[in-house]
């Protein structure tokens, strides 16, 4: 029944599910690709995946909440990933976060009212010698910014906003 209700709503998922639904161990891959399409995993999307793959909703929810990559809430057009690695911490990532949050008026995990930016604290991005670092996912792809200061980080955000 679930499948019927939701049919048509998630047709972008069908090619992925055709490929992976019956391949054991593919749940994470399916969820990653679903998130790639919709930006997050809605309860409806999870229900739909469950109906097609015969994997229980509770299990999908369990996997989706275990891994930090998965989001259950929608995000803005541009995702700001603030690195919380050791090198970034030692080099003042906390003050960068403060500057970003203050400038945008939102907290970690939240999205601006105009739906333009979402802030996410993430695990080490592996550009430690450029700490503090952030990665911004835009429609043009992922870009990493290093050696951030409270001033430069705001400048970068303004620049992205002005490009839009």
């Amino acid at each position: 029944m679930e499948e019927k209700c939701l049919q048509g709503q998630f047709k972008e998922l069908d090619p992925i599910l055709d490929k992976y639904a019956k391949v054991p161990g593919s749940l994470i891959t399916i969820l990653q690709q679903a998130q790639e399409i919709y930006g997050y995993l809605s309860i409806d999307a999870i229900n739909y995946i469950s109906a097609i793959t015969d994997i229980r909703v509770a299990k999908i929810y369990g996997v989706a909440t275990f891994y930090t990559q998965f989001r259950l809430e929608p995000i803005g057009e541009n995702l700001i990933m603030l690195c919380q690695g050791t090198a970034c911490h030692v080099n003042g990532s906390e003050s960068i976060e403060e500057a970003v949050c203050e400038y945008l008026g939102i907290q970690d995990g939240e999205t601006t009212e105009d739906n333009f930016f979402t802030i996410n604290n993430v695990a080490c991005l592996g550009c430690c010698s450029l700490a503090p670092v952030m990665m911004i996912k835009t429609a043009d792809g992922d870009e990493t910014y290093g050696n951030l200061t409270k001033v430069s980080v705001v400048k970068i955000l303004k620049e992205i906003k002005s490009r839009a």
Binding site: A87, C124, G126, C128, D142
Partner: protein, 582 residues
């Protein structure tokens, strides 16, 4: 003549793509027929963007920190005028950062184009694999690795040959060889660099290992945070398949073997073997008890071998030069080289590959130039959240698995986060506990609840609310968590606290009893005041978010301590060193 631009993640983040665009624009504008190419990271992240110019005799001229505005001069002087621009070339300490290293794992990083298999083949790539598949038996391969003394580079240094042999002995219809590229330690980035700079070396290691144990399939479990590494691996796999190095009947040997990538989804615990396997199977990445070991029952209950990226990157070198030659590097019990990722308050941050057995001083001071801004060296965190903090007085400790473990830290995957006098050790311990608490999978009570209790105590201490007995309570909890956790995450989670208490107990005591943070980091324990350097420029008044600063134009300013939130903005904007933090 050809031009090569370093485009690893750090190079790109430093603007390498803009530099490359400018080079290509100017070459086209001058109608110059010079080939441009990209390469991975050479490890000198502090010098990015790096542009290498090779002359017709293949002599290398390395330009560093090349901003687009410098490109015109380099092209007109060097490419057209044939006169290298000396002032932009790498020199002095920067150059010796590279020349003092011994490169085996990073031998091709920053030299070849990682997206072109032909360049890898041209420098002898895949020769080792051909030789192995043609001439050697499975046992001969394992024996050669045994001779090399190679230990697992993911952390523990467990003998690689032993794992391969165990996977070979155990029978199953399918066998799997897995590459752990889930580099989760914050502060470590050597695996990223190898995957981005020399992906074929990793594939070769997996093909040789796969052959040795009779594996039917290879899987690379790579973190999703490394999009460029995944992209370059995909290209490498495609090219290797086209060459017949992967797929059916590889190298005409009659053996079928292919490798695929599985992107991780962000969970530190998945660096643990059994958790990684659970994740590969699409489950929550929770570890299970060993035995059975993965070599007995691994992925889908079949014999499985898991090694780290750096381990595999050593393999083709070993078969090119021989296990004995590899064993010449390093010391008893720790053979070969190890790559370290230097970050934190270090002058020259980047990747350093050295023979095992050299000292911390060799790496931190001799190669990486010591501490940024000539501050005082306080300690180095090795092994990430599972490791510990080694204090300045132990700077002459040789880097071997045994000696580093004796300090209470571990070599781990090779992250070295250097700390100076401004780093508060209690805050560092709090940072790591915060990390492990979040990353605990929740299976073992001591790890799940114990790390939270430890974190609460550390938070209290850094907020100036430490109590007599807190240190003892931390020590007691640490022992219980170590004993009561099943996997490495919980067993090592208390290490940062234990080592900082062992070597920096005075800082804990200062926080608890004197309510003082000597490193002047913990906000609750510092105060800001203004001294008589103040010129009354009012810059601080305007930057203060709580209106805590008062004073007239050109008059002495003061800070109202009741309103001050210790945000530090006044200190940042002051041009006269008038703000005192203590």
């Amino acid at each position: 003549m050809r031009i090569v631009v370093g485009e690893g993640s750090c190079g790109i983040a430093s603007g390498a793509k803009k530099t490359q665009t400018e080079i290509e624009r100017l070459l086209a504008a001058s109608n110059l027929d010079v080939k441009t190419n990209v390469t991975g990271c050479v490890g000198t992240c502090f010098l990015e963007p790096i542009v290498d110019i090779y002359d017709d005799d293949n002599k290398l001229y390395r330009y560093v920190r090349v901003q687009p505005k410098m490109v015109e001069e380099i092209i007109s002087e060097h490419i057209i005028g044939n006169k290298p621009v000396e002032k932009y070339l790498i020199a002095g300490e920067d150059a010796s950062f590279i020349t003092k290293q011994t490169k085996i794992v990073l031998r091709n990083c920053g030299i070849i184009n990682p997206e072109d298999i032909e360049e890898y083949i041209a420098i002898g790539g895949y020769e080792s694999t051909k030789k192995v598949l043609k001439d050697l038996s499975q046992d001969e391969v394992i024996n050669e690795v045994k001779k090399s003394g190679l230990g697992g580079r993911g952390g523990a240094g467990f003998p690689t040959w032993f794992k391969w042999n165990a996977a070979k002995i155990n029978k199953g219809p399918e066998k799997y060889i897995v590459c752990n590229a889930d580099e989760g330690d914050p502060g470590a980035f050597m695996d990223r660099s190898v995957l981005e700079g020399d992906p074929h070396a990793v594939l070769e290691g997996m093909i040789i290992g796969g052959f040795a144990m009779g594996a039917t399939e290879g899987i690379i479990y790579c973190r999703a945070e490394y999009p460029l590494a995944i992209k370059r691996l995909e290209i490498a796999l495609k090219q290797a398949r086209e060459k017949g190095y992967l797929g059916k009947n590889i190298f005409g040997s009659g053996i079928d073997f292919d490798i695929r990538i599985k992107a991780g989804a962000g969970a530190f615990v998945c660096g643990e073997e059994t958790a990684l396997i659970a994740s590969l199977e699409g489950e929550r990445g929770m570890p299970r008890l060993k035995p059975p070991f993965p070599a007995q029952k691994g992925y889908w209950q079949e014999p499985t071998n898991i090694n780290n990226v750096e381990t595999y990157a050593n393999i083709s070198w070993i078969f090119e030069h021989g296990g004995d030659e590899y064993a010449k590097y390093g010391v008893e019990g720790s053979r070969g080289t190890k790559v370290f990722a230097l970050a934190g308050k270090i002058k020259h941050g980047g990747l350093v590959e050295v023979p095992m057995g050299c000292t911390l001083r060799d790496v931190i001071f001799d190669i990486a130039g010591g501490i940024k801004n000539d501050k005082e060296f306080k300690g180095v965190q090795m092994g990430g959240p599972s490791g510990g903090c080694i204090p300045a007085e132990l700077i002459d400790t040789p880097i071997t698995y045994k000696t580093i473990t004796e300090t209470g830290a571990i070599i781990g995957s090779g992250g070295m986060v250097v700390m100076d006098e401004d780093t508060c050790m209690v805050d560092m311990a709090r940072f790591f506990l915060d990390f492990t608490r979040k990353e605990s999978c929740g299976k073992c009570t001591y790890c799940r609840v114990g790390t939270k209790r430890m974190l609460e105590i550390l938070e209290r201490i850094t907020q100036g609310e430490g109590k007599d007995g807190d240190i003892e309570l931390l020590l007691e909890l640490a022992e219980k968590i170590k004993a009561g956790s099943m996997c490495g995450l919980g067993q090592t989670a208390p290490n940062p606290v234990l080592t900082t208490i062992k070597y920096f107990r005075n800082e804990y005591e200062d926080h608890i009893y004197k309510k003082k943070c000597t490193a002047r980091t913990c906000k609750a324990l510092i105060t800001y005041t203004i001294n008589d350097n103040c010129t009354g420029c009012t810059l601080c008044t305007r930057s203060c978010p709580t209106d805590a600063i008062t004073g007239t134009l050109k008059g002495q300013h003061t800070i109202n301590q009741d309103l001050c939130i210790q945000c530090g903005r006044c200190e940042e904007v002051c041009n006269f060193n008038a703000i005192i933090r203590e």
